[in-house]
Symmetry: C2
Subunit: 325 residues, 2 copies
């Protein structure tokens, strides 16, 4: 029996799956799982299992939902997921919407890029609500962006708002995409880790790498960044200074080009570094703004790690037989 | 007697005024004048006199036009012109549309920013015609930009598309706006001249400055840049290399952010340096593009020094009692 007052959303990441069930705007169930590394069919299985676990968490395991929204890393077009190097085994376009729908008894499924979905989350129920135009910047392993112009999410020909690949220093650090000096190489967790490891290889020492290895992790975490900063680690301080500087350069350039009302800064790294980091970025932008007296509001995201799931819920609601206004 | 099949346009610059009369899409009269340095009332007088001279040039000096469009440097809002440091004596917002209308017997006048107008010219009758989305970049004394998204000119909150103030080198040359390392400081004629004069002050020699002084000019011209390049002047070659490099960095960043179909490059400097310069810029962008296999077309403007007047004509036609389709 389908209860169309319930909607479901999935935030699919390279390491974790977050499933939530909402009644109206209220989240009534949630569940987490690890993203399988054994191919997209297994990812679809895990998504369905997470959704079922989240439903069970609502106390009504037999209820079903009106629609399911999924935010996923990569390109999502007509239900197909592609260009998702963080989803192991997903090499060619995969019909993820259909695969999940099939496993969930034919419930309609919509899938969209994770950063676009997070931007929709902040636009509809987060820090972007007061603005007709804003740039969402999500600083995590990489740096993603979403652009809302005149109330509508703008994605260009599908690859727009790649804020992480704005050039901040043309002779600077190599970027994972093959470019040089892109924002992501300075502000993204992977870029910070790569630079920390280059320093260590050159004979320096930093808690960023020491703590990562002591904890037996294979990747730098936001928690480790925070602890290295608290411990006064000089390289951690320098690399976060670099991150704030790179954010300031890129966002001033974006503002001079787009003249948006606001910039919303979210993502795991920015959330962990908090409003003080966002304020530093805003301060650093000022000298590079063309119209500094008409600067954008630069604000932290409101939804934190729920921006993605919230945006996916909004997409599911739009698809739902009984639309929630 | 008003002949509403005629429209008029004015391209108002800091040194020159260009007035054109068109019948349908065909330019049937044109006139040039020097921009007075004695305040905006005299500028309005000179615009009216140029329009009258252009009308005389059509062979029907007694004909009048249906509407007049003006492209002007600065901010144009509701007929008021402001923020126009290149129009001597224009210190506070000045009712330029009204002033010109009054001098032309009450004909409706529309005024818009010169770069926006040039973008509209390229969009409707120039190199932008095939595209729903493109970025227009006009390289002259400074570097201006216009953005067409989904068929509509996008200007943000009125200060958007300031391509000239994208940061290309955060530790680089000072920009006239107070920022550092902006595109305009490398590719704009004023930026090229400032750097050439810094080199001369530091004991170097360049034809860019020698030729300017020999001709008794107070400002570097595009003709002088072209002649210095032809003569193999090493500093001229280096500074134009820098200009092409800065254009590549800025336009790759803009593309990664906007994912437009095309980039149209115009303005006096780019027009003079020709398609080879535009091709160099496009080539330089490739390594910095996030989706190089989906690069934008990078094309020279088609209308050259008529982009502004053409866009102003289009605005006049839209205002005309008998709209030309």
């Amino acid at each position: 029996m389908s209860d169309t007052s319930l909607t479901a959303a999935v935030d699919l990441g390279g390491t974790k799956i977050l499933a939530v069930i909402a009644e109206g705007h209220e989240v009534v169930g949630r569940a987490k799982a690890t993203t399988p590394r054994t191919g997209p069919d297994h990812v679809a299985d895990a998504i369905a299992a997470s959704l079922q676990a989240a439903l069970t968490g609502t106390g009504e395991p037999d209820a079903t939902v009106g629609a399911i929204g999924i935010g996923a890393p990569g390109r999502a077009d007509g239900g197909m997921l592609s260009h998702a190097p963080n989803i192991p085994g997903l090499r060619s376009p995969y019909p993820m919407a259909h695969a999940v729908s099939e496993r969930m008894g034919g419930i309609p499924v919509v899938i969209e890029n994770d950063v676009t979905v997070a931007t929709i989350g902040e636009q509809t129920r987060g820090a972007g609500r007061p603005y007709r135009s804003f740039l969402g910047v999500f600083v995590g392993t990489g740096v993603g962006g979403g652009l809302v112009l005149d109330g509508t999410v703008y994605t260009g020909r599908s690859a727009g708002a790649e804020v992480g690949h704005m050039v901040v220093d043309p002779r600077g650090r190599p970027c994972g995409c093959g470019g040089r000096g892109h924002l992501e190489a300075y502000a993204g967790k992977a870029g910070i880790e790569a630079e920390a490891r280059r320093r260590v290889a050159a004979g320096e020492r930093t808690a960023l790498v020491d703590l990562t290895e002591r904890k037996g992790k294979d990747r730098l975490t936001t928690g480790t960044i925070a602890r290295a900063l608290e411990a006064g680690d000089p390289i951690a301080i320098e690399l976060i200074d670099d991150a704030a500087w790179a954010m300031s350069v890129a966002l001033a350039t974006a503002q001079n080009l787009l003249d948006v009302e606001a910039i919303v800064v979210g993502g795991g790294v920015a959330d962990r570094l908090g409003p003080a980091f966002v304020a530093r970025v805003a301060e650093g932008m000022t000298p590079q703004l063309f119209v500094p007296e008409h600067a954008p509001r630069v604000v932290p995201s409101e939804l934190g790690d729920l921006s993605g799931a919230t945006g996916a819920l909004v997409l599911a609601e739009r698809l739902s037989p009984d639309r929630i206004p």
